[in-house]
């Protein structure tokens, strides 16, 4: 059996050269970016992912709305939770590594990059849908930039040159990290210009009707919001009026019926879509609600100072409830319900405010717009409504919805003794971001 001695080692040596292909593995639950951006259907799925991005907790999933209320609390609400991020925001002690500031920045630019990818891949979208897809991506991008510029940049000053620092404007998709990835901050003026550019284009590109996704009216409503923040009252009024007069939305008759819905109400213009089948949840419910309804421990309490603002007969006062030892808002009570972000009531109030400021009555008399929400709350119709009346009505109607801080800045008010332009009413540029990109300039005071 001499042969026996050698054939096995020979076979063995041959086997050494065998199986390189064992190393060729493809992921089973992800696809390459090329594939994701190469077909009409895939690009539309990527676009839908941008809505998911907009609904992240660091965006309209709730935290940025919560923090606009906490920063502008002024004794009307109290943070009693144990999470440090919001606690430091509430006590105006946030520092450069504040988690909330980082979370929003990361979530916003994540969403913006998706929009940029979609806008870059428009040529693979069916021609018939191309305008709509572009319009939706632009609307989402504008929503992200508007939220960013209000939290990280000093307030827009009507008539000023607004050369104060806004946020970096990135309009191209990132496929690799290179020199171009190390961006600098644009001014507030430039950031608003970009927002307006996206929104005005979106308004012309978008259809009238588009389910719960962006349509022409959503773009107009967002424009009304942005113009109001900029103090461009005529533009704000006209856009708000356009939305109201389109007839696409109706106020619900009962204030309470606007909240805790599975589907958008007739009043919702943009609402984050939440269901139990989704990872997404409204973090407003998490923090404003109580364990019995799926909240945390009732981290935000509504204080007497806020409740005192209401007329005792106001249905919106009655919409608060007592739970877990404190007063709560009924708006963010139930888990897994849609979370309204822009609703028709806000349009009435914008139109009323602008009309009274400009001495006009575009669309409807001021009193009528005011009474639209005022009487719905079970209060008698008013006449001779003043600017102060409207601002109070706005504060009550839109309470706990993430408007407070931005209104304080717009109206040059104060919160907790801090002037509207105090640095502590801004988020810092996240510490991690400045470490990753030393070209970014920090906000003063951090």
């Amino acid at each position: 059996m001499k042969f026996n001695k050698y054939w096995l080692p020979v076979l063995f040596m041959l086997s050494l050269a065998a199986c390189d292909k064992e190393l060729d593995l493809d992921p089973a639950q992800s696809i390459s970016e090329d594939l994701a951006l190469s077909t009409d259907a895939n690009v539309k799925s990527v676009l839908l992912g941008a809505y998911d991005g907009l609904a992240l907790d660091g965006m309209f999933g709730g935290n940025t709305m919560r923090d606009a209320e906490l920063m502008g609390a002024d004794g009307e609400i109290r943070w009693v939770g144990t999470f440090e991020g919001p606690r430091f925001v509430f006590f105006h002690q946030q520092i450069a590594n504040n988690f909330e500031a980082e979370n929003m920045w990361v979530d916003a630019y994540y969403t913006i990059n998706i929009c940029n990818n979609v806008l870059d891949a428009l040529d693979v979208v069916n021609e018939a849908d191309r305008a709509q897809v572009e319009g939706e991506a632009r609307w989402i991008r504008a929503m992200a930039y508007f939220q960013l510029v209000r939290f990280y940049g000093q307030a827009y000053e009507p008539g000023g040159n607004n050369s104060q620092l806004g946020v970096p404007i990135v309009l191209r998709p990132t496929r690799q990290i290179d020199e171009a990835s190390f961006v600098t901050r644009n001014t507030v003026e430039e950031t608003y210009a970009q927002i307006l550019d996206d929104l005005t284009k979106a308004k012309t590109l978008l259809p009238e009707e588009n389910g719960v996704q962006a349509n022409k009216h959503m773009a107009a409503a967002t424009l009304a919001r942005v113009y109001l923040q900029m103090g461009r009252y005529a533009d704000a009024r006209d856009n708000a009026s356009e939305v109201i007069e389109s007839g696409a939305y109706q106020l619900v008759s009962d204030y309470a019926a606007e909240w805790n819905n599975d589907d958008n109400s007739s009043e919702d213009i943009y609402a984050v879509q939440v269901s139990s089948q989704d990872f997404l949840e409204s973090t407003l419910v998490v923090y404003y609600s109580i364990p019995a309804f799926g909240g945390r421990d009732g981290d935000i309490e509504i204080l007497q100072k806020h409740l005192d603002l209401y007329d005792p007969n106001d249905a919106r006062l009655a919409f608060h409830y007592e739970g877990a030892g404190a007063m709560r808002t009924g708006k963010w009570r139930d888990q897994y319900r849609n979370q309204p972000v822009i609703r028709l009531a806000e349009m009435y109030l914008i139109r009323a405010e602008c009309n009274v400021r400009l001495g006009t009555s575009v669309g409807a008399p001021v009193d009528d717009d005011y009474n639209a929400t005022h009487t719905r709350a079970g209060l008698p119709a008013a006449s001779g409504v003043t600017l102060d009346d409207i601002l109070l009505e706005r504060r009550l109607e839109l309470a706990h919805e993430g408007h407070r801080l931005h209104d304080i800045k717009r109206l040059k008010g104060s919160a907790d003794g801090l002037n509207w332009d105090d640095n502590k009413l801004l988020y810092p540029i996240p510490a991690r971001e400045i470490e990753a990109n030393p070209k970014l300039q920090q906000n003063p005071g951090y």
């Binding site: 063995f12 190393l23 992800s30 839908l48 520092i95």
Partner: protein, 1018 residues
């Protein structure tokens, strides 16, 4: 390929061949004539070995009549015996020599220790036996120089961390490679959710023959790509020819926490919080009785925490919540083994069952397993064998340390809060400050079943007396079933009428390797070659279902859930393909040289950067074989060693080189979401290590030792580099940066007394210095913002970095920090300057969580059948952070119960203290990221004490009994430390990572265990 190799194994068994032969014999003590159990016998110049059984008998295959047997036994002088034509060789040994000539297992083979050129630490099975701990790593603690072992907390079945020669990577894996009976075991954390499960926890360590830790580059380079963090080789027992042997080991005992913390009692709680509220009112300028004052608010809270009544005014302790979280645990282990064999077949079979009730309520673990090891000499040329390990473990897990439901977080609840209401129901919020975790104990359960099978088949064929081929094929099948159900009162289930999930994860690893080995002695030259290939593939799948809305708490499975809220399945996989070669040469066992090289490819890297080459070389010089030392009466053994080599690390996630989108959903429609940004150039992380060592033996090797110095540079770190988030991504894996570990290891083994009274001592100590040399271009710091541990260039990985706490301003009670402002050169401008504004304090390095020194000291004394073994183990030079200091030690900043040290707070001008004025809501120095919450983490621990009595064999007569031992063992009985928390061996489970060490966050203390047991052999 794996099929081909398996075919080869089968083919080998069919080959018929001739002519080596077996030699049997017995090894005894020359003085007493008693059998020496466990002596090693090897064929000189070859790589086969045998070990004597309990009667001192051995059987070994020798190639020819010229063969020389080397016989070694701990504490005795080794002997060389020429076999000649004999078929039976009896050997008598003289007391006095020691470990130098024992056989150690190295990668893909065995070697006599005196001819080693690399650094291999061996832990014998005797040192592991009968320890009442759950996993092998715990038993290894303190037993090998330079091997750091940590249980992250005291939960049963919790994760273990093992670091060989320091932390070797920042973002890739840092655990060593485990090789069980020649088969590398994937160490991926294969749990389904929650805290990581220990990958080798299922091994029954009564089955372990020995553990070898390959530490230096030349020893581990044969594992190339996967060896950079060291290699732990575990060899299980095999049968020995001779009369069948049955051994039964049964033990039982109790365990309790190593430490407790002191918290405020009811009177102190009320006093401190009232004071804190008053202080905050002073800040706001509010009278204490103003309805909106902090004081009124606090009085309201007292009544709420009492169950909405005024019972708090009695200042009586209602509940000691720490006592509710902790309990006296229990341990029971039993192990039964059969072994034996004849000339052709040897077997070892065992079964074990154990139950450990942890010291945390509702945390326990039951394990059951079996092993069968068979070795079969099919022909004189062919050996085949099977190792089969089956294990089932059932763990009742508790939540991670950061969950409100974890038992240890009960300590946050107020002492004025009764446990139950008048109806006997557990109180929950709003009466409790947080969720009452005891509800989880009553109405929730989380059971994790793991089933593991490791099956391994080998064939070893000798073509000639010099040339052989060993082929192994193995499967590692790991399944985890994780079922949880929480009732409608629990935190998870209270908004959804109950909540449950069921997860099933399975991992299947295939490993095949083939090694051609050739050894030959030419006169005084010994030469050997190995050439091999290995393929490893791993696939992991998981399915997960989650549901809500149960008709009642009595339903335990999701079948009863009215609403299925999540259901998913996942799959991921990876593979390695390797070719390797090794050559060794020695002249007269005096001059030793070893060279190896390995090429590895991994699916994890970019297609063009898959393969890498890992070379190593080493040399040794046995000076004691030289004429000028040969008969030196004092210095009996002296060897110098030097080695150099490169090893790799690919222990990262799968597919990280690709730009990927993943699926998501929004409003019921599927979406595509960006997942990661591409890096096509991604490749291996490389460690280059140089080692110099001295092995010595004195006084006929009664005193032996090793000294090693090593320096290990890890380059091309697989680093998760933070990128500007404006790109849409936060991080990207890049090969960038450099990390260094260098250190000294010293091991000493001494037979202080030999003979009737024997006393042996082993001591090991290792100092390691870790330094991050560089990171990404321009990057000097990795700081995740929320934790104090950072990666900073010029410092050890994971250093604590933040404001340096400067105590309390005696004038106003404000917390102070050092400003530490630096000039452009980095020098501190005004060293003593302090500030009461946290933001104004600059960050400085506050200390390292990694020990400078780790050590172990083991002593065994025996006389007339009584054996006392005690082992100390410890570490020094590290810091621990109380990561929950901002909750439990924050001067009543919120309503969590406080540690008693907070009573030392500042109260009036002139008070000198470290604890600032108490301020509710506002807080005062409560930022957790500061040196205020750091303390010295050095400790010395009496890790293990065993007192045993072996009955003399003469009393057994003809009962069939061979030996009988009764014993008492204690672990963690004494701990000496300055750390004020529960236990200094800690890293909270939800944070534990390469960067985060030494952070305590309601981590369960280690158990202190005492068991009594017996071992009987037939």
């Amino acid at each position: 390929m794996k099929r081909l190799l398996l075919t080869l194994v089968i083919a080998l068994t069919a080959v018929v061949a001739f002519a080596q032969r077996n030699v049997t014999g017995r090894v005894t003590d020359r003085a007493s004539g008693e059998a020496l159990i466990g002596a090693t016998i090897t064929v000189k110049g070859g790589n086969t070995g045998a070990i004597t059984d309990t009667d001192g008998n051995f059987a070994i295959t020798v190639p020819n009549d010229e063969a020389v047997l080397l016989v070694a036994y701990t504490g005795y002088e080794s002997a060389e015996v020429a076999v000649g034509a004999q078929s039976r060789v009896d050997v008598m040994l003289d007391a006095g020599s020691t470990l130098v000539d024992e056989v150690v297992v190295i990668g893909y083979g065995k070697q006599i220790k005196s001819t080693l050129t690399g650094n291999v630490a061996k832990i014998g099975g005797e040192n592991l036996k009968s320890m009442p701990v759950v996993s092998v790593e715990q038993a290894m603690q303190g037993q090998a120089a330079g091997v750091f072992v940590e249980s992250v907390n005291g939960k049963v079945g919790g994760a273990m961390r093992v670091r060989v020669r320091g932390v070797g990577s920042i973002n890739a894996g840092t655990e060593p490679l485990y090789v069980i009976d020649g088969i590398p075991i994937a160490k991926d954390a294969r749990n389904t959710s929650g805290a990581p499960l220990n990958p080798i926890a299922d091994l029954n360590f009564n089955d372990i023959e020995s553990i070898e830790v390959l530490k230096d580059a030349s020893a581990k380079a044969i594992y190339g790509a996967r060896g950079s963090n060291g290699v732990v080789i575990i060899t299980t027992k095999s049968g020995k020819s001779g009369r069948p042997r049955i051994e039964l080991d049964v033990q039982g005992g109790a365990s309790m926490p190593t430490g407790k913390r002191e918290f405020l009692n009811a009177a102190e709680y009320i006093e401190l919080f009232t004071e804190a509220a008053n202080n905050s009112d002073d800040i706001d300028g509010l009278p204490y009785d103003d309805p909106d004052s902090w004081t009124e608010f606090t009085l309201g809270r007292f009544s709420r925490y009492s169950g909405f009544n005024d019972s708090w005014m009695e200042k009586v302790d209602r509940t000691d919540w720490q006592e509710e979280a902790l309990r006296t645990g229990s341990v029971f282990n039993s192990n039964l083994s059969f072994s034996g064999g004849n000339d052709k077949v040897r077997y070892y079979a065992s079964g074990n069952w154990g139950n450990t009730e942890g010291i945390l309520v509702s945390n326990d673990l039951e394990k059951m397993g079996g092993r069968l090891n068979l070795d079969f000499d099919a022909t004189s040329r062919l050996k085949v064998g099977v190792n089969l390990n089956l294990a089932r473990t059932l763990t009742h897990q508790v939540s991670n340390d950061n969950a409100f439901s974890t038992p240890m977080q009960l300590v946050a609840l107020s002492p004025i809060t009764p446990k139950r209401d008048e109806n006997g129901e557990l109180y929950d919020r709003p009466v409790t400050i947080y969720y009452n975790g005891l509800i989880d104990v009553e109405d929730g359960s989380r059971e994790v079943f793991t089933f593991r099978t490791i099956a391994n088949v080998y064939g070893d064929y000798s073509f000639t007396e010099h040339l052989g081929l060993r082929v192994e094929g193995a499967g590692n099948f790991y399944n985890v079933r994780d079922d949880a159900k929480f009732g409608e009162r629990t935190d998870n289930g209270n908004d959804s009428r109950g909540y449950g999930y069921s997860a099933f994860a399975g991992a299947t690893d295939w490993n095949t390797n083939a090694v051609l080995h050739w050894d030959r002695d030419f006169d005084r030259h010994a030469l050997g070659f190995d050439l091999g290939t290995e393929l490893f593939t791993s696939e992991y799948t998981r399915t997960y279902v989650e549901g809500e809305q149960f008709p009642s708490d009595d339903f335990k499975t999701l079948e009863a859930a009215a609403s299925i809220t999540d259901a998913t399945s996942t799959l991921t996989n990876y593979s390695f393909l390797s070719y390797f070669g090794r050559a060794r040469y020695n002249f007269d066992r005096k001059y030793l040289v070893n060279i190896s090289g390995r090429v590895d490819g991994s699916s994890r890297f970019g297609k063009d950067n898959r393969y890498a080459f890992f070379p190593a070389a080493s040399a040794g010089w046995v000076l004691s074989e030289e004429d000028f030392l040969k008969n030196n009466s004092t210095l009996s053994f002296l060897k110098l060693r030097a080695s150099w080599g490169v090893s790799g690390n690919a222990d990262i996630g799968n597919f990280l080189s690709l730009g990927l989108f993943q699926a998501g959903n929004y409003n019921g429609n599927s979406t595509l979401n960006p997942e990661q940004i591409a890096n096509p150039g991604l490749t291996w992380e490389r460690s280059t290590e140089t080692d110099f060592g001295i092995d010595f033996g004195l006084f006929k090797n009664r005193l032996t030792g090793e000294i090693d110095y090593y320096i290990k540079n890890t380059t091309d770190l697989l680093l998760e580099v933070p990128v500007p988030a404006t790109s849409g991504f936060s991080t990207q894996f890049q090969n960038i940066g450099e990390l260094q570990n260098k250190g000294i290891e010293f091991t000493l083994n001494s037979n202080n007394f030999v003979g009737k009274f024997s006393w042996t001592t082993s001591f090991n100590i290792a100092a390691n210095k870790n330094e991050v040399k560089s990171l990404a271009s321009g990057q000097t710091l990795i700081d995740d913002g929320s934790n104090t541990n950072v990666v900073k260039v010029g410092e050890p990985i994971g250093v604590f970095y933040g404001p340096d706490y400067a105590g309390v301003d005696p004038e106003n009670g404000d917390a102070l920090w050092y400003v530490n402002e630096t000039d452009d050169n980095g020098n501190i401008i005004n060293p003593g300057a302090t500030t009461n504004t946290y933001d104004e304090a600059n960050f400085v390095v506050l200390g390292s969580p990694l020990p400078d020194v780790i050590y172990g000291l083991d002593n065994t004394l025996s006389y007339a059948g009584v054996t006392l073994n005690f082992r100390f183990q410890g570490q020094a030079g590290n810091e621990i952070q109380n990561g929950a200091g901002n909750f439990m030690s924050c001067g009543a900043c919120w309503f969590d119960n406080q540690t008693r040290d907070q009573l030392d707070r500042w109260q009036q001008a002139g008070d000198i203290t470290d604890v600032p004025e108490a301020r509710l809501g506002y807080g005062n120095g409560e930022q957790v990221r500061s040196s205020r919450y750091l303390s010295d983490g050095s400790y010395l621990r009496l890790k293990n004490v065993t007192l045993a009595y072996d009955f003399p064999s003469k009393i057994f007569g003809k009962t069939g009994l061979r030996d009988l031992r009764i014993y008492v063992t204690g672990t963690n009985l004494l701990t000496f430390t300055k750390y004020e928390g529960w236990d200094p061996e800690v890293t909270t489970d939800f944070l534990a990572s390469n960067i985060i060490y030494g952070v305590d966050f309601y981590a369960a203390p280690q158990p202190k265990t005492i068991v009594a047991g017996f071992r009987v052999g037939f």
